[in-house]
């Protein structure tokens, strides 16, 4: 139990760092020095201490949204196994619950985008819902393939010596493409953009400031680490099923960190080497990931 609580605290504190590392790698690849990897923490601290400005056209939906988005991301964190296979809340729900939980946060964020009456917010909401709708079949299909490998959709069962299967590998790549879409990264979206017309995720949160913005940012860091953990848990499952000794836990943490940093490097490379796609090419990209997931499923039914 103590490990489980530790795991959640560990993941929350790690989440901004992952973003920082990705930015750092990207900058170094572009031959820049770049900001420090701790910059996301400074940003959060700064935002939390600021006053807030709120649009006069907005309603209570706008005010409660950051909390709901944050709560849904945090709840998702309860579900994924990072370095302890018995995920903290295995009695709560399974793999599929993640899809629904994220859709809760997204629903409210999209409403908040529409709430301020600016055209940019609406544009962001429309595009975000558009892309996420097309990401969902790929996620479910990938989950299907993964669940065949583990024999269940219960995440607590995803453990054991790392069985790197052909099907789960391809499912992992499909999930990686979905992750690019869900965490608003190139080639679907661009986190670094400053032009309102090209924003997707950022446009919805355009009107937020101060602590509310901090909560939304933190929520997206959490969402990112949930997706990374999910990929790592499905492709290369947690090694120790029932962890008791601290040494095993430590080994688990080291393996986990290695997996996460590998995914971070992969994401950073894709972001640097790909260009942003047109919105409607993004559908093709997600369709590609759906087909990969279907392929993974076929491989899984054939036992590969």
């Amino acid at each position: 139990m103590i490990f489980i609580i530790l795991q959640i605290i560990f993941l929350i504190s790690l989440a901004p760092l992952v973003s920082g590392i990705i930015t750092k790698i990207k900058n170094n690849l572009r031959l820049r020095r770049g900001q420090s990897v701790w910059q996301p923490y400074y940003n959060l601290a700064k935002l939390f201490s600021k006053d807030e400005v709120c649009s006069e056209h907005s309603s209570w939906v706008f005010k409660i949204t950051p909390f709901i988005v944050f709560a849904s991301s945090l709840l998702a964190l309860f579900l994924v196994p990072a370095f302890i296979a018995k995920s903290p809340a295995q009695y709560l729900g399974d793999l599929l619950l993640l899809v629904f939980i994220f859709s809760l946060g997204r629903f409210f964020l999209a409403l908040a985008g529409l709430d301020t009456g600016s055209s940019f917010g609406g544009m962001g909401s429309s595009r975000e819902m558009f892309i996420s709708s097309f990401a969902e079949p790929a996620i479910v299909m990938a989950f299907f393939a993964v669940s065949f490998n583990f024999g269940t959709t219960n995440l607590a069962a995803t453990c054991g010596p790392g069985a790197l299967k052909f099907s789960s590998l391809i499912a992992g790549i499909a999930l990686l493409i979905v992750t690019l879409a869900e965490t608003s990264r190139i080639p679907i979206d661009n986190q670094e953009t400053h032009l309102e017309l090209t924003m997707i995720h950022e446009a919805m949160a355009l009107e937020y400031s101060g602590p509310s913005l901090a909560l939304i940012e933190l929520a997206s860091y959490l969402k990112q680490i949930v997706f990374f953990t999910l990929i790592s848990a499905t492709v290369y499952p947690v090694v120790f099923c029932a962890q008791i000794t601290p040494i095993q836990a430590l080994t688990g943490i080291i393996i986990y960190l290695a997996k996460i940093s590998f995914i971070a490097v992969l994401i950073a490379f894709t972001e640097v080497f790909l260009a942003k796609m047109r919105l409607f090419r993004a559908v093709d990209f997600l369709y590609f990931s759906f087909v990969l997931a279907l392929l993974a499923l076929i491989a899984a039914t054939l036992g590969a």
Partner: protein
């Protein structure tokens, strides 16, 4: 044919009927309370009384449909239900649209009824009785080909009422034209009687003959889901949008029932019970949230006098309670935890996941495709309700009427919140509800089997030893609430003040409602992505003063309904064409008519000699 009319009314009160009676009464109660305030001020007292009598008769006819024990009485009450609902559709007679919607509805529903009558007559030929038990016993002797025919007839007949694609075209016309409390009853309950028919006559009485029955229903269901939600996204009339979502949700319900039929044929009884109860769960959930959404749409309609979403906006400030109730409905239909829609959609996905472990590899892939298309449907439905809620209730009012809207009356609010309360109850109390539904579907499928022990929190069916799948909605709700409370308190305690200021509009000085994102704009990406299906048409017109200055700009876009264009129009053209042809045999000469009669009699005599 002697004992045709020698039937007495007898009721069949098994758990399935009780379930449907409960559903009908639940929605009817809310709708009745709501109608008091809704009809006030719109119509004269006489008209209102007439409306209530029709309303009561409609409910009674539905209750008869789901409880009678005799196919003939069933048909009579079915027909009564259709006719009464027709009169309710054209209740608002001033409106031209009501009349034409009523005619489309009447024609479609009678085509459906014709198919049901045909299938009943075929079954009667073998049973010699209209009693359900007798038909069920006789169904074992029906040859395979005839059984398939009966299945197809029943599917078309009940499918027309349920609104499966491509028989759905009456639904988006008829449901929005009725007064809102009737729409909620029609969309929430009446189309579910068709599902009752499918369960009662295909699963319970006829029995599943071959595997393709279930597969066919699954394919139809998933197509209905997608077509319904895509059309709903394109729709900007609030009630029409909701009507298209009924098509989608009927699809989701049929996914559970179709899966159940597949499992029955494969002799996986436990899974069949699971799938059927999931279908029933989504059925009652859809009844609740769709009823709720129609009631809210009615309040908005009453307050603004229009159903066009582009004229709404900012209603959350004028009608806060209606907005809250609508938000509950929207969250439920978008399958957001912890409300009821989420539970049944999670369960439907789970049926495919669990079922896939014990079927052949071809079916596995089919199930996976069904599940992922269901996920696509869920995503699109959520987008659609972001649009519906966001454009209708949020931001600034887009028209003068929306600016002057007032909150709905007390009885309307009670009606709405009554159902909103149940979206929460059926979400949090999922474990209990599911246990009851499992009993209902067990009574349908295999009354003689030992009780099956699975609960919402513990699915162990056909899965590896020791691996359980859980879902605990109260825990999810609790954790969400705790996180919300803690963060909200922390933020409230430790942060500075909140300042109100105008919305950032990229430096443009004056933000007006015309700058807001519209429903058309919101759905544009979807319109383009599904362009191959929707065949959008657009026209732009610019009036220029000079090269740089455009004086007026007109943008027009609409989508083509391919079902009307490529299925119904050719059929209609063919019908009219053949009618024109047949008209030739009617020259108006009385001698010829008598000759026809003579010829018919001779032909009959010859035929009788043959048989």
């Amino acid at each position: 044919m002697l004992n045709l009319f020698n039937t007495s009314i007898a009721f069949l009160l098994d758990p399935l009927s009780f379930f449907f009676v409960f559903t009908i009464l639940l929605i009817s109660l809310a709708s009745a309370i709501y109608s008091v305030g809704y009809l006030q001020g719109e119509y004269s007292l006489r008209k209102r009384l007439y409306g209530w009598v029709l309303f009561a008769a409609f409910i009674v006819s539905m209750l008869f449909v789901v409880t009678v024990n005799n196919a003939l009485i069933f048909l009579i009450s079915w027909e009564a239900m259709s006719l009464l609902s027709y009169f309710l559709v054209i209740f608002d007679q001033k409106n031209e649209k009501s009349i034409s919607a009523g005619i489309i509805y009447l024609v479609m529903t009678h085509i459906g009824t014709a198919f049901i009558i045909a299938s009943f007559l075929i079954m009667y030929k073998y049973s010699g009785s209209f009693d359900f038990a007798a038909i069920k016993a006789a169904c074992q002797n029906i040859p395979v080909f005839t059984k398939n025919l009966v299945f197809i007839f029943l599917l078309i007949g009940f499918g027309t009422k349920a609104g499966i694609v491509p028989l759905h075209i009456w639904l988006p016309y008829a449901h929005p034209q009725a007064p809102s409390h009737i729409s909620s009853l029609m969309s929430g309950v009446m189309i579910k009687t068709a599902i009752y028919g499918i369960i009662r006559f295909i699963i319970f009485i006829l029995g599943i003959e071959s595997l393709w029955w279930g597969n066919l229903i699954l394919i139809i269901a998933i197509i209905s889901c997608l077509v319904g939600v895509i059309y709903a996204l394109m729709e900007h009339d609030l009630k029409k949008l909701l009507a298209y979502h009924s098509v989608e949700n009927i699809g989701i319900i049929l996914l559970g029932i179709g899966a159940s039929m597949v499992f029955i044929k494969l002799k996986l009884t436990v899974l069949a019970v699971l799938a059927l109860s999931v279908g029933l769960y989504h059925l009652i959930n859809h009844a609740i949230f769709k009823g709720l959404l129609f009631l809210c749409a009615g309040s908005v309609y009453k307050a603004t006098g229009t159903g066009d979403m582009e004229k709404f906006g900012g209603l959350i400030k004028k009608m806060p309670q209606t907005a809250l109730a609508f938000l509950f409905g929207a969250m439920a239909i978008s399958a957001l935890p912890p409300l009821n829609g989420f539970v049944s959609e999670w369960l439907t996905l789970q049926v495919f996941f669990i079922g896939a472990f014990s079927v052949s590899s071809g079916l596995k892939i089919f199930f996976a495709i069904c599940a992922s298309l269901l996920a696509l449907t869920g995503g699109l439905a959520a987008s659609c309700f972001v649009k519906a809620f966001g454009i209708t209730f949020l931001a600034m009012p887009r028209s003068a009427k929306a600016k002057e809207a007032v909150e709905a009356g007390l009885s309307m609010k009670i009606g709405m919140f009554f159902l909103a309360f149940f979206t929460v109850v059926f979400g949090l109390g999922a474990a209990v509800v599911f246990k009851i539904l499992a009993k209902v579907s067990q009574s349908v499928l295999a009354g003689e089997l030992a009780p099956i022990n699975f609960s919402l929190n513990n699915f162990t069916i056909n899965i590896q030893e020791g691996n359980f799948v859980y879902l605990s909605v109260p825990q999810i709700a609790l954790i969400l609430a705790i996180i919300l409370l803690i963060t909200a308190t922390l933020i409230y305690l430790f942060t500075g003040k909140v300042k109100k200021y105008g919305t950032w509009n990229c430096g443009y000085y004056k933000l007006t409602p015309r700058n807001e994102y519209t429903a058309t704009a919101f759905s544009k990406p979807f319109r383009i992505a599904f362009g191959f299906f929707l065949k959008p048409y657009r026209k732009t017109e610019k009036l220029r003063e000079s090269f740089y200055h455009v004086k007026t700009f007109k943008y027009e876009t609409h989508t083509t309904s391919i079902f009307q264009e490529y299925i119904y129009k050719p059929i209609l053209a063919f019908t009219f064409g053949s009618a024109r042809f047949i008209r030739k045999i009617q020259p108006g000469s009385i001698h010829l008519y008598i000759a026809y009669i003579f010829a018919t009699i001779v032909a009959l005599i010859v035929l009788i000699k043959i048989f």
